[in-house]
């Protein structure tokens, strides 16, 4: 009998024993850039909700997702209650929580979601030096920027669309018969889709720019909050100093006001509790074009950031 064939390397018994499992190559499929980009986008979406990262990482995103939807749940609940109690049409007409008011009422939660989660997607890889590992793989730097920004966008879209879906489902189920309710609700869908798609894109774009240039989490959070709340204050001060025409144009420098303007362009002046707030004082298309400009500009800046960052 000869000795059994050696399994591991000869003469490495000392350190080799624990590694002696044989190396297997990989002959399976290897995807190209597009597939990898979409995988990273999906991964980013999961990271935006803290999925795969322990319990604490999920608290902020899910809390804000729910907080943003609470008014819609309340509105549906109150409507249902009023219907049960005999259908007080008058009160229902006065309900302030509607598709057309929703963005203006709750955009603070969307902003906080951006401030909490954009640094997760953009800061961590820079802080922990992971970028060289991405860029030494199939993805290009542009792919990485697109995937991260896209993931954040879809995450915000979920936040902004969920309450509208709740309102729609509530309206359909609460109607005298679902068919009429559906027919009544259908025209609302494209409107809130436009506001959500554009509003989320502006918020995602602007937060991505800030977060990609600010690896430190604390600074990043503060800077994102600042970029959404400081410009309106400045514009308000200028308006108070009685140059309203300048203020009206300057409003375009404030991303949150531009989205309010888009909302106005879709729904007309904001009506809450019998009062009308004409936030959109420029023609509607100006706000829509400005919003799209924000989105394109943000993407360009984020891409530039990753093209030039040294790794």
């Amino acid at each position: 009998m000869t000795a059994p064939a050696a399994r591991g390397p000869v003469g490495e018994a000392g350190t080799g024993s624990i590694y002696d499992l044989g190396y297997r190559g990989y002959d399976g499929p290897r995807f190209g850039r597009l597939t990898v980009l979409l995988s990273l986008l999906r991964q980013s979406l999961q990271e935006a909700y803290g999925i795969g990262r322990g319990g604490r990482a999920k608290v902020a995103p899910f809390l804000l997702l729910i907080l943003n939807a609470v008014p819609a749940m309340l509105a549906v609940g109150i409507s249902a209650f009023l219907n049960q109690a005999g259908g007080s049409e008058v009160l229902e007409q006065g309900m302030p929580i509607r598709h057309d008011t929703y963005w203006s009422l709750t955009s603070t939660f969307v902003m906080l979601f951006c401030a909490a989660q954009a640094p997760e997607l953009f800061g961590r890889d820079q802080r922990y030096g992971v970028l060289p590992l991405y860029f030494s793989r199939v993805l290009t730097r542009i792919d990485y920027a697109l995937a991260r920004t896209g993931g954040l966008y879809v995450a915000i879209l979920i936040v902004t669309l969920l309450p509208h879906l709740i309102l729609s489902v509530g309206a359909i189920l609460g109607a005298a018969d679902p068919i009429t309710g559906f027919r009544h609700e259908l025209p609302e869908v494209p409107r809130y889709l436009v506001v959500s798609l554009i509003g989320s894109a502006v918020f995602a774009g602007v937060s991505s720019v800030v977060a990609s240039y600010t690896p430190r989490r604390a600074y990043s959070v503060a800077a994102i909050i600042a970029i959404f709340i400081v410009p309106p204050i400045v514009v308000g001060i200028i308006a108070a100093l009685s140059v309203p025409d300048i203020a009206r144009v300057l409003l375009l420098a404030s991303p949150s006001d531009v989205v309010d303007g888009v909302n106005g362009a879709v729904y007309g002046p904001l009506r809450i509790g019998g009062q009308t707030f004409d936030v959109a004082t420029l023609p509607g298309w100006v706000y829509v074009m400005t919003a799209l400009g924000y989105v394109a500009g943000s993407l360009a800046i984020v891409i530039r950031r990753y093209l030039t960052v040294t790794v």
Binding site: T15, G25, P29, R30, G129, L133, S136
Partner: protein
């Protein structure tokens, strides 16, 4: 087709630092050591070969792909272990290496399987389910090697893989590098400033200094043997030296090492027999080579 070919490769950083200066070299598959002092341009060269960095002038190809224009295709078959920290502390090694496999183009299920395989290879078991923030330096270096291997590359670029490791950790890392090159059939380029280390695993050596190529040649031609045999024993070096002297061999005890002047083949058998007779705990016998340090003098 050479594994790596560079032609007049030059990299100047803004601010006037020249990291690579007209470097032309052709390398065949094997374990290639890239040696040079800190700042000699090793890391810059590796990054250019990956397409992470644009050269200022000159050209380079890896596995037949042009690094400037075919970066994506090339990077599919190259694994890179950077020198710097690159592990997020709140992620587990399994998740992290699996993700890196996916960014290399592997499908999700294959990525998970390969991650588990490769982590076992580098010697990480139960720890791989724990967040990496709690890992020792040795474990972190293993994860860094694992993520470079996970997509079964044809070429591995390792930047100072033994950085921060204790002597035992260094030995294990070098053994892993050696196995990767010899058994897995993956070509390896190891950058290191520690010449003594690199000579233990490489079969080809590229020496750079100040961004210039000093020499590229098979290891054997770098380190011609000197006529010295070093015998390491745990104890009894003095007794061994005395016994060898008595047998007519020129031997000197130096701590735990006995240095023997070699004139012919005769001392080899004599050392073996004498050690056995005296019952000494033998650690190793090696022929002393001319130190690589002389290269840079």
């Amino acid at each position: 087709m050479p594994l790596i070919a560079t032609k007049s490769l030059t990299k100047r950083y803004p601010g006037g630092v020249t990291a690579l200066d007209d470097l032309t070299v052709e390398l065949e598959p094997g374990i290639i050591g890239l040696v040079g002092a800190n700042g000699a341009g090793k890391s810059t060269l590796l990054r250019i070969l990956l397409g992470l960095l644009e050269p200022t002038a000159g050209s380079a190809s890896v596995l037949g792909y042009d690094v400037r224009t075919q970066g994506t295709a090339l990077r599919r078959y190259v694994g890179y272990m950077p020198e710097s920290d690159c592990l997020p502390p709140d992620t587990t090694a399994t998740d992290f290496v699996g993700q890196m496999a996916r960014w290399s183009g592997l499908p999700r299920s294959a990525a998970r399987e390969r991650a588990a395989d490769v982590l076992r290879h580098v010697g990480l078991y139960e720890e791989r389910y724990r967040p990496m923030g709690a890992y020792s330096t040795g474990m972190k270096q293993r994860v860094k090697l694992a993520q470079a291997l996970v997509h079964d590359p044809r070429l591995l670029l390792l930047d100072e893989p033994t950085n921060g490791l204790d002597p035992a950790g260094r030995d294990e890392m070098l053994a892993l590098v050696k196995r990767t090159g010899t058994e897995f059939g993956i070509a390896v380029v190891v950058a290191s400033h520690l010449l003594g280390e690199i000579e233990r695993v490489c079969d080809h050596l590229v020496a750079v200094d100040g961004g210039r190529l000093i020499r590229s040649a098979a290891l054997t031609t770098f380190t011609e043997r000197t006529g010295m045999l070093a015998v390491d024993v745990e104890e009894g070096a003095e007794r061994l030296a005395a016994a060898l002297m008595a047998a007519g061999v020129d031997a000197v005890a130096d701590g735990r090492t006995v240095l023997i002047h070699l004139e012919d083949e005769r001392p080899f058998d004599l050392v073996r027999d004498t050690v056995a007779e005296l019952g000494l705990p033998l650690v190793r016998i090696e022929q002393r080579r001319r130190g690589l340090e002389e290269l840079f003098q």
